[in-house]
């Protein structure tokens, strides 16, 4: 019995599926008192789902719950809301700050849990009218701030604080809660400067030393190596490995995160790789900086040859998604970019489009589609605006040619096997995979010279995934289209790309052949960790 008590948290055989798709399968892990436990994995590996289950988030209950048991300090629990979890002594430090700028630090620490004193009206109308006990609030806040070594007045407003301090205020808020046993840090260093991150890690260590267990979710291998005692890697909802940090290395962890047997997504006879070495340069990118929040590119340089399928991979948050979005002008960017020898003008909206670059966005519903419009309308739209296609004369003006639009939509529906009632169906009513096919059809209708696809298989079923990948290979093989594919799934990139660039910390770390070893990919992806370890 005493043995059991050593564990603050035990997750046993946790499984969860969303409408038939398993997202977590039989995951078990245990966290001891005072342990820093790193939870790692790519985006979509199941980390957030696991945390959602732990916190009793409504999204879990509204989708059919989960199987398995959760024990806190040896006792089985079943949280129905995040509030229950907080009552049981579990806290979360968010990546995005949940702070109110106009409040003082003390008010933020005590938000929703203010200390109060009774008043005459409160005796009549209830505790809502008790007045705030500010001296007590301030004193408690002071204690919490001292605990994490933050030397700043508790009466300062949060508004003017440096970003790094805000993270600490969040931590102070969590440890001010009584009986806090377990703290989850969700990518806490993502927005911090290096020295702030260092200080944060120190605070985590000192909290652990006080006996609080910590679950540390991060993509930064260096931090894991620096502070964690134990780590678990999730991949595709399964637990890949759990190891003590002392028994492993950064390279091994990176390998564990991305490595997997290559599924045959594309048959070899459909993707004969031809040498493109001699071809002209289709896209040349030099020193590209993209200011995309969470996916910043900091000086990316690469070249793509005509007729090539060029892959861009890397861990989430490292900046790979920023590259296509910057090229298309979605976020402010600068650098030297040439498309078939023509210089790209970043200040001119839609310049990349007019130079023959077509883009399938990773944000299908937000950027990729007009959900309220028909399939045919979505397919035709890009070509209509940029190439003035699908218009026919009508007196002094030109109007949409519904006939041509529908005929073309019909062709595309057949070609890409879009499952729908017809071209007139509303795109919003389609499944994810079919929506993605519409996005692809729309991009192809623009007859691009270079097709840029960002996360083309995210959130779609395996059948659609295979079809899309095969079609991309077919486009290159039959029509010589140059394709740039950005994906978090290394297996996908390795199954069709000629070369794969790995982005780490906003830069291209390495460009590898698809048949390079897992270790090489792991090394490139964990490069940022390696570098900081050396320095």
């Amino acid at each position: 019995m005493m043995e059991e008590q050593r564990y603050v948290l035990e997750l046993q055989h946790i499984s969860k599926e969303y409408s038939g798709n398993p997202v977590l399968q039989d995951v078990s892990l245990t966290v001891k008192k005072g342990q820093i436990y790193a939870l790692m994995g790519e985006n979509g590996a199941g980390k957030s789902t696991l945390m959602n289950i732990l916190f009793g988030m409504p999204v879990i209950h509204s989708t059919g719950g989960f199987t398995g048991t959760i024990k806190i300090s040896g006792e089985e629990v079943n949280f129905l809301s995040p509030h229950d979890a907080m009552e049981a002594g579990i806290g979360m430090v968010h990546q995005e700050f949940m702070l109110i700028p106009g409040f003082t630090i003390a008010e933020n620490i005590k938000v929703g849990r203010e200390d109060t004193l009774p008043t005459l009206p409160s005796r009549v109308f209830g505790p809502d009218l008790e007045r705030l006990n500010r001296p007590k609030m301030n004193a408690d806040a002071r204690v919490a701030l001292d605990n994490i070594g933050l030397d700043i007045s508790e009466e300062t407003k949060v508004a003017g604080l440096p970003v790094g301090y805000m993270q600490f205020v969040e931590i102070a808020r969590e440890i001010d809660k009584k009986n806090i046993k377990l703290l989850v840090f969700d990518e806490p260093t993502a927005v911090l400067t290096e020295s702030e991150a260092d200080q944060l890690l120190k605070v985590m260590q000192s909290l652990a030393a006080k006996g609080i267990a910590i679950i540390f979710i991060t993509h930064r291998l260096s931090e894991v190596m620096q502070v964690a005692d134990y780590m678990t890697v999730l991949r595709d909802g399964e637990l890949v490995a759990s190891k003590a940090i002392a028994d492993t290395s950064a390279v091994e962890i990176a390998e564990l995160m991305v490595g997997r047997a290559i599924e045959k997504l594309v048959d070899d006879d459909k993707n004969t790789k031809v040498s493109t070495e001699q071809n002209e340069v289709a896209l040349s990118v030099k020193d590209l900086y993209v200011d995309m929040p969470g996916e910043t590119a900091r000086g990316v340089t690469f070249e793509v040859k005509s007729g090539e399928i060029f892959g861009i991979g890397g861990l989430a948050g490292q900046g790979k998604v920023g590259i296509p979005n910057g090229l298309m002008g979605m976020f402010s960017s600068h650098g030297d970019v040439e498309i078939f020898g023509e210089k790209l003008n970043f200040t001119k909206l839609g310049n990349a489009l007019s130079k023959g670059l077509a883009f399938v966005s990773e944000d299908r519903r937000g950027v990729g589609l007009l959900l309220e419009e028909s399939i045919a309308h979505n397919i035709m739209f890009g070509a209509m605006t940029t190439k003035r296609d699908y218009l026919s004369n009508f007196g002094i003006t030109k109007l949409l040619s519904a006939g041509r639009m529908n005929r073309h939509a019909k062709d595309m529906i057949k070609l890409l096997d879009i499952r729908c009632v017809g071209g007139g169906q509303r795109v919003g009513a389609l499944s994810g995979g079919n929506q993605q096919k519409v996005c692809l059809a729309s991009a192809l209708t623009m007859k691009p010279r270079i097709l840029v696809v960002s996360e083309p298989t995210r959130g779609i079923d395996i059948g659609a995934k295979k079809l899309i990948m095969e079609y991309l290979a077919h486009l290159r093989q039959e029509e010589g289209l140059t394709i740039i594919m950005i994906s978090s799934e290394l297996a996908e990139l390795r199954s069709i790309c000629d070369r794969i660039a790995i982005v780490s910390d906003g830069k291209i770390e390495d460009i590898l052949a698809p048949d390079a070893s897992d270790a090489q990919f792991g090394l490139a992806m964990s490069a940022a960790a390696q570098n900081s370890e050396v320095s």
Binding site: P82, H94, V111, G112, T116, P293
Partner: protein, 486 residues
């Protein structure tokens, strides 16, 4: 110091602009200062309560409450019933308030519910809800009353018996019901009420075997007792038996309080604190006292007579709001107003807080309308409520408030500035452009334009802030969404 001054000017740019505009209008309008003062203080006592009722929704993040019209409607239904049932004087006012507030609570609840289904568009929603309610109200007063519900009262009803008259004269009813309560009665009431409350408190403490802590009630009862005793001196008694207080005396009393308060703090201050602020207060009070020797100003101060109880009610509301903002509920409102997601994730029921804010605002607005109408003495059945939101909101904004931030101070300042301009613009238009009508239109224009500019500036600032915020943690967003859908 220079930058501080710059900041001060920038922060109060709206108020300063209106101050200059008011001064200019006064110079042009060719009216006497006593006239201006008399008009101004009358309007102040009529409108301030209503303007203050706008503060709580701003704090709770609901923006400017264009739906206070609905509170005014509740008040007018209550006044109609009061007149019908013969309520008069101070009792009549209490009757009206007693009927208006429950109605306002119900209406506020409904509007709050409605607003929870249109988060982000509460202001336009509130305005439209106001018009919608106006339609229902007119239907009630023109067709239902007399048409469906028989009412036999030829003082109130149109001669055909169907529909209520355009104007209801409150002369023999609640006219000045609040204004005309003599000071001595207020004092008597305060003294005995404080005695009773203290007694109850002590008994409760005695029963619960808590320490009695006699000092606490004594602090309230003793000064009141002294004042009460003073009332028995014939001269003081004669002074107190009036229901109006000359503005001059009011200023003197206020100055005395400021000086005493400052002296108290200077003597009782801790070693570490500097007395600069309180010394400045005293200097300020001395300057104001000096100013009263300017003949024109002195005459103006002598002309204005303030209805004492009305002003006490307004001051109590100011203090009450300040007190309320320091309670748990007030703090929750601030939290909800600043960030609904944070509030929801800290276990605050966002929708409930928003509904409470609407109920409070609507109830206060209904009382505000009763205060206003008991002073005016005539109720324009189909008109008194219509412009309430427009002029109250404009006044609040003129004081320097915004869609997201509004304080008692801004409300008070705003009422003064806005109504100064309002009083003067017709005269100024007459003497500047030879047409009083232009002045009339100008002040309506100012009211609308102030609101338009404030709203535009708010949206502008919000837009530029939004670009900084990237995205909310999906887990948190989920909590917020679930908490809000409850």
């Amino acid at each position: 110091m220079g930058t501080n001054l710059g900041k001060f000017l920038f922060k109060n740019n709206v108020a300063i602009l209106f101050l200059l505009l008011s001064v200019g209008a006064f110079a042009a309008a060719n009216v006497s200062l006593p006239f201006l003062f008399e008009e101004l203080f009358t309007r102040f006592s009529r409108n301030t309560f209503m303007v203050l009722s706008l503060l709580i929704p701003v704090v709770a993040g609901l923006g400017l409450n264009f739906a206070i019209v609905i509170g005014a409607i509740a008040a007018q239904i209550a006044i109609f019933l009061t007149v019908l049932w013969g309520g008069a004087g101070f009792v009549g006012v209490l009757m009206a308030v007693g009927m208006a507030v429950p109605m306002a609570i119900l209406f506020g609840f409904l509007v709050g519910k409605l607003f929870n289904s249109m988060k982000g568009t509460e202001m336009i929603g509130g305005m439209v809800a106001g018009f919608f309610s106006d339609g229902l109200y007119q239907f009630l007063f023109l067709f239902v009353l007399g048409g469906i519900i028989p009412i036999a009262n030829d003082q109130l009803m149109i001669s055909t018996g169907i529909g209520v008259l355009n104007a209801i004269v409150l002369e023999n009813s609640i006219h000045h019901g609040l204004d005309n309560v003599a000071m001595i009665h207020i004092l008597d009431f305060a003294f005995f009420a404080s005695l009773a409350l203290s007694a109850i408190m002590l008994i409760v403490r005695g029963v619960k075997k808590q320490p009695l802590n006699l000092k606490q009630p004594a602090k309230v009862v003793l000064p009141l007792a002294v004042l009460y005793a003073l009332g028995f001196i014939p001269a003081v008694g004669r002074f107190l038996s009036a229901d109006r207080l000359m503005l001059f005396y009011a200023v003197m009393i206020a100055l005395a309080i400021v000086v005493l308060y400052s002296l108290y703090h200077i003597i009782r201050r801790k070693e570490s604190e500097k007395p600069t602020r309180f010394i400045l207060y005293i200097v300020g009070a001395a300057v104001v006292f000096g100013l009263t020797y300017i003949p024109e100003l002195e005459r103006s101060l002598m002309v204005v007579r303030l209805p004492v109880l009305t002003y006490i009610v307004i001051i109590s509301l100011c203090l009450g709001i300040k007190w309320f903002m320091n309670t748990k509920l007030g703090q929750n409102m601030r939290t909800v107003g600043q960030d609904r997601a944070v509030a929801a994730s800290s276990g605050i029921n966002v929708n409930r807080i928003r509904i409470i804010a609407m109920i409070m605002s609507t109830s206060l607005a209904s009382i505000g309308q009763i205060i206003s109408l008991q002073n005016i003495g005539t109720m324009a059945t189909y008109g008194s409520h219509q412009q309430v939101a427009l002029f109250s909101i404009a006044a609040l904004l003129v004081g320097g408030a915004s869609v997201q931030r509004a304080t008692v101070k801004q409300a008070l300042l705003g009422v003064f500035l806005f109504h100064t301009l309002f009083i003067l613009s017709a005269n100024a238009g007459q003497s500047l452009l030879g047409n009083a009508q232009i002045g009339e239109y100008f002040r309506v224009f100012v009211a609308y334009a102030v609101i338009a500019v404030a709203l535009a500036m708010h949206a502008w600032v919000r837009k530029s802030n939004k670009q900084v915020i990237t995205q909310i943690d999906p887990r948190v967003a989920a909590t917020a969404a679930s908490a809000e859908s409850k």
